[in-house]
């Protein structure tokens, strides 16, 4: 069995390696001197990040620091993802807590929420587009937030519920039996026990909406969010290391978020199993 075990561990390492290879190459190539996405590198430079443009250059050649559209989209993405994260946290926590109890309609609620993830993005995008047009409503900040929340909540719910302490209900029941008011049961028993799960769901909601394009693309108007900006820029411009510099910066946010998430989740994992 020893050989099989090692082969299996090798497979996990190979898998992690494979899915990271493009990300690592993106970072390396964002420092390439030549404007081609090609190996070998012609030299290392920070030009794609900070070089001051000399005149009217192609958008694909302007460095990241001087690409105003990028910074507008970044600001837009941050506010958008923060709103999505906050809403995700509230909806996921309230739904997850409700789903633990044997109330009527529990399964139906769960399937309904799950539907937000199961429905293909393109179908939901089309339906929302038509709905806004029928109601004569303009796309707004909140339409982007809503279509993202519908998608992030099922993920957050699965993440949170798969990690709930099975004895949580017992603790709550004990507190209620001792005549604690519902609000103080939540504040003093439930919330402290699930706070890491709440924070994890919040971070996950932020990260999911940070990179989402398929659904968000349908709700496009005015200043785009990052994913839409990158997509439209790439459809009209040749690919240069500038876009890899952009990717490095955007992905750095995701990566930092995930390291924090891993840290938070492993805090809980230490106690269980």
């Amino acid at each position: 069995m020893g050989i099989v075990d090692n082969l299996l561990k090798l497979l996990v390492i190979a898998f992690v390696g494979l899915i990271y290879l493009p990300a690592v190459l993106v970072v390396i190539l964002s420092f390439n001197q030549s404007s081609a996405i090609a190996f070998p590198l012609t030299g290392l430079t920070l030009d794609w990040y900070v070089k001051k443009p000399v005149g009217y250059e192609y958008a694909a050649l302007v460095s990241l620091l001087y690409d105003w559209g990028f910074w507008d989209a970044l600001r837009n993405s941050v506010t958008n993802s923060l709103a999505v994260a906050a809403l995700t946290a509230v909806i996921v926590t309230s739904s997850a807590l409700a789903l633990r109890h044997r109330v009527r309609g529990r399964d139906q609620l769960f399937y309904l929420i799950l539907l937000g993830f199961i429905v293909p993005g393109v179908t939901l995008g089309l339906g929302s587009t038509i709905l806004y047009s029928v109601l004569h409503m303009e796309y707004s900040f909140w339409s982007v937030v809503l279509i993202n929340v519908v998608y992030t909540v099922p993920f957050g719910l699965i993440l949170m519920m798969s990690r709930f302490d099975p004895d949580l209900v017992e603790y709550e029941r004990a507190a209620s039996t001792l005549r604690a008011a519902p609000i103080s049961v939540f504040r003093r028993i439930t919330a402290p026990l699930i706070r890491w799960e709440i924070i994890s769901a919040t971070i996950f909601g932020f990260l999911l909406s940070w990179g989402e394009l398929i659904r968000t693309g349908f709700m496009l108007k005015g200043t785009p969010v990052l994913s839409v900006y990158v997509y439209t820029q790439l459809s009209v411009n040749p690919l240069t290391p500038k876009f890899y510099a952009m990717g490095t910066l955007i992905s750095a946010v995701s990566f930092v978020g995930l390291v924090i998430l891993g840290f938070l989740l492993s805090r809980g994992a230490g106690g269980q199993r």
């Binding site: 299996l8 561990k9 497979l11 996990v12 898998f15 899915i19 990271y20 493009p22 190459l25 996405i37 190996f39 909806i91 739904s95 789903l99 609620l109 769960f110 399937y111 309904l112 799950l114 539907l115 937000g116 199961i118 429905v119 993005g121 393109v122 179908t123 939901l124 089309l126 339906g127 929302s128 587009t129 038509i130 709905l131 809503l146 909540v153 719910l157 699965i158 519920m161 798969s162 999911l208 990179g211 989402e212 394009l213 693309g217 994913s227 990158v230 997509y231 790439l234 890899y244 990717g247 992905s251 995701s254 978020g257 995930l258 891993g262 989740l265 492993s266 994992a269 269980q272 199993r273």
Partner: protein, 271 residues
């Protein structure tokens, strides 16, 4: 309970329901006319490309599911049974999420650096004296990108299912001298079945709804999602809605499988 209900109804149910009437409406340039017609359906079903588009769509998504299973199952198995350190396990799972969370377009164009004519693989090949090969703009690149993104959706539900297998079952089988192969198949594989079904469903619907990746990298292969997106982009809403109905029916089938075979609620609550 209320916030979850409200968002789902507002954000999912109503937008989907509105597709039903629109799919029966007429389209006369440049607007939609609310008069009943079946032409959107009839025209689509009898169109020459429809069969091949549907076949492509199922073929691409189906094979991606299967490949994701071939990778995801052993990875989930290793994480559950071979790695004892809980903290390490959590970090590995978090790290596996990264590619999924990287920006959509960046994740796709990142593969140019690996698969492109001047990319990493061809650079390695040419250093070894081998002619460059075309990897991008072909189904190969589509599968690679989809697998990088969605294998996680296969692995995670299987992992959840395996976590719930009582180690006593395995020990009991071993005491009763079951062969390792029977332990693997009769206990671990069969008890992971809900997770496997859930994984197939998750990967299938995700690839079904992703029209951006095929539009960029499939090398001109048409899929159902792509058709819907291009019709929707040209404001041909009735036709796009009719096509969406096909997708919705498939979604409901998937949902039905999740509830009955996958027993998805057992993965998360109802211990």
């Amino acid at each position: 309970m209320l916030p979850g209900l409200a968002t789902s109804v507002l954000g999912v149910i109503i937008p989907l329901l509105i597709l039903v009437p629109v799919s029966f409406y007429k389209f006369r340039f440049p607007t939609v006319i609310p008069e009943f017609t079946l032409t959107n359906y009839v025209g689509y079903i009898f169109s020459a490309q429809t069969a091949s588009i549907l076949l492509n769509t199922f073929g691409l998504s189906g094979l991606t599911c299967f490949l994701a299973f071939l990778i995801g199952y052993p990875v989930a198995y290793t994480l559950t049974f071979k790695i004892r350190n809980a903290v390490l396990k959590t970090y590995i799972i978090s790290l596996l999420m990264v590619p999924f969370l990287i920006d959509w377009s960046i994740r796709t164009v990142a593969w140019i650096s690996v698969l492109g004519v001047h990319g990493f693989i061809n650079y390695m090949l040419s250093s070894a004296g081998i002619e460059p090969i075309r990897l991008l703009l072909s189904p190969v690149s589509l599968y690679v990108i989809w697998l990088q993104t969605y294998t996680l959706f296969m692995m995670f539900p299987i992992y959840l299912a395996m976590q719930r297998i009582d180690p006593d079952y395995i020990r009991a089988a071993q005491v009763l001298r079951a062969s390792p192969r029977r332990v693997q198949y009769d206990i671990i594989f069969k008890l992971s079945m809900p997770g496997i079904v859930t994984g197939f469903a998750f990967v299938f619907v995700s690839t079904l709804g992703d029209y951006v990746t095929p539009s960029l990298w499939a090398g001109g292969i048409q899929t159902l999602g792509l058709s819907i997106a291009s019709y929707a982009g040209n404001y041909l809403w009735p036709q796009a809605s009719a096509m969406s109905m096909i997708m919705l029916v498939m979604t409901l089938v998937v949902m039905y499988l999740l509830v009955t075979v996958g027993k998805i609620k057992k993965l998360l609550y109802e211990r």
